[in-house]
């Protein structure tokens, strides 16, 4: 397959806008087609078996499953950090199998954002530079990287502390920095692996609220969790068990694409009524 990636970030932004202007009418952002991943061993570990998953632009997808069910493996395939041992993975129409390692890293630099449970921030660099590093490998000059990092920090509500060190921040704030780093390059898709896994309940809620806000602003996000309560709140929920997708609610209807409110916010819980959810409720 013939593919092209523009060489400058600006033309990249234009290209992404062109690709997805039709809002799903064009290529899906992510297409996992019958993908498997087995790890060599005696016997080999079949971490994923014939997984099918298509994610369109602007979706917010929760992938839920117990520990060891293959969630991280799936995220790594979707993020081109790993290649499937069977089947096909396409990101914005580009087939991972046809691309060299160097091309895949450029694809990650320009089209994929990652959020990890452990944040992975550089403690000796400022918050601003941690975020700016999200653009380092896309070839953006330092000055622009920092300017755009400021914008991204604004987006996650940390614009007033660009020169703090990660060690001076709370866990929730650190995850916000990591989210800003994932977003700073305006990726086509953001992949989050247990983003609230290291956070207490309330802080986790605020991070989910931020994710909802980003989703509302148009970002395409995949959130992996082992927590059914969190997955339940996603507009689209995919369940994974033993490397199989066992349930997929499918793309959400346009009027049902908000993050549903947390059960603890709902009174009474049995009513099923969607209370007005405000992202201003930020306990972190």
């Amino acid at each position: 397959m013939k593919y092209t990636l523009p060489s400058t970030p600006d033309s990249y932004a234009v290209a992404v806008a062109d690709d997805f202007a039709a809002g799903g009418a064009g290529v899906p952002v992510l297409d996992v087609d019958n993908a498997s991943r087995s790890y060599p061993g005696e016997p080999p570990v079949q971490a994923l078996r014939e997984v099918n998953l298509t994610i369109g632009q602007g979706e917010l997808v929760g992938i839920v499953g117990p520990s060891g069910s293959g969630k991280t493996t799936l995220l790594q395939l979707m993020g081109t950090l790993d290649r499937p041992t069977g089947g096909r993975v396409q990101i914005t129409g580009l087939d991972v199998a046809t691309m060299a390692d160097n091309d895949l890293s450029y694809l990650r630099a320009t089209r994929i954002g990652f959020i990890f449970q452990q944040f992975f921030l550089a403690e000796h660099a400022t918050v601003l530079d941690n975020v700016a590093d999200g653009l380092l490998y896309a070839g953006v000059p330092l000055k622009q990287r920092r300017q755009r990092a400021l914008d991204a920090l604004d987006l996650v509500g940390l614009a007033q502390r660009p020169h703090a060190r990660p060690t001076q921040l709370s866990g929730g704030e650190r995850q916000r920095v990591a989210i800003a780093r994932a977003l700073v390059g305006h990726p086509a898709i953001v992949l989050a692996d247990e983003p609230t896994g290291n956070l207490d309940q309330a802080t986790g809620q605020s991070i989910l609220a931020l994710i909802d806000q980003l989703h509302q602003a148009g970002s395409t996000l995949v959130v992996i969790t082992h927590d059914h309560i969190i997955a339940e709140r996603m507009p689209r929920k995919v369940e994974i068990l033993d490397g199989h997708i066992v349930a997929d609610t499918g793309p959400a209807a346009p009027d049902d694409c908000r993050l549903r409110p947390s059960a603890s916010f709902v009174q009474p819980p049995v009513s099923g009524h969607h209370s007005a959810f405000s992202i201003a409720d930020d306990p972190s």
């Binding site: 580009l94 060299a100 160097n102 091309d103 890293s105 450029y106 452990q118 992975f120 380092l136």
Partner: protein
Amino acid sequence: MTATAGRKPLQLSDLARLSSVGLGTRKLRAELSALGIAIGVAAIVAVLGLSASSQAGLLNEINQLGTNLLTVSNGQSFTGGAVELPTTAPAMIGRIPGVHQVQTTGTVSGANAYRNPYIPAPATNALTVQAASLSLLPVVATTVAQGHYLNAATAQEPVTVLGAGAAQRLGIDRIFPGERIWVGGQWLYIAGILKPAVLAPAIDSSVLVGYPAASKYLGFDGHPSTIYVRAENDRVNRVDDLLAATANPENPNQVNVSQPSSALVAQADAKSALNGLFLGLGAVALLVGAVGVANIMIISVLERRSEIGLRRALGASRRHVAEQFLAEALLLSALGGVAGTVIGGAATAMYALSQHWSVVIPAMAFYGGIGAALLIGAIAGLYPSMRAARLSPTEALRTV
């Protein structure tokens, strides 16, 4: 066309920033391993600097003694016997244009010097007895350490002046009034002791007497054996060419002409060969430093797996990762190299100044030190950076 045909490597400023942050994260460890490189480089710079400075000091000393001294001495005949210089030679040489001073010594054959008559005859201490002309000292660039040199009066009398080495070997370090030594069956009174004559070492081991006294008391035949000639600085070579034929027109081949300063310069040059040993030690220190750098870099790759994984996730290619770690090793050893050069230079300067030498640090030491450090950084960083690059993103991100 491939997607990444236009993909740029990291800018130098980005690499510098990444590697200084990387090293800053592990400051103490980085400092210690840079210290290894610094010690090696300092040793090499100091060895090269000290040998150049001591050489410069020596050359300076030689220049102060004068490079315009030429010596003419009697050579050997074909049959092996000494060929005497004609007694007219000094006067003839004095007439060569450009010669401004001529002084002589003449070996008194058969005469030995002893502390007293009871010393057994074979214990000559390898001293020679020489008749010496009266203005010898300024020409051979020495002075008296004690007492007086010979003058027109004492040159007639049984009076001697001892070369620095001769006095030492006779066990005389101070002159008492009336002190004498036993020379050629005769008591000679000691008038003075000389300082070392660097340009004319033969004088150091000599017992000097006046020409008239040598003939009168010691049976000296009057032939000069060494003629010391000072020429005008810009005519030294021309005078040199004429000396042999002028000194002994009949047998110019049997005359030895030499320029003591050039022999000393050659010696000073040869001395630097000894530094090979110390350079070798410096190289060993550098090697140890290299092992230190390789070690810290490998540990760093193991410890920073998740950073590597994160950077791969942010879009770093294998090459970007390799470059980052290589740049870090280079920065580490460059810092060590600069510190070592400064330390080695300072040590050289301190020692040279204490010896009153001029401080000379050859450019070779300077660039060589930093160059060697960089080379070592590159070699030591190569394997760790390749290991970092080979790490797959998923492996790097895996948390145990």
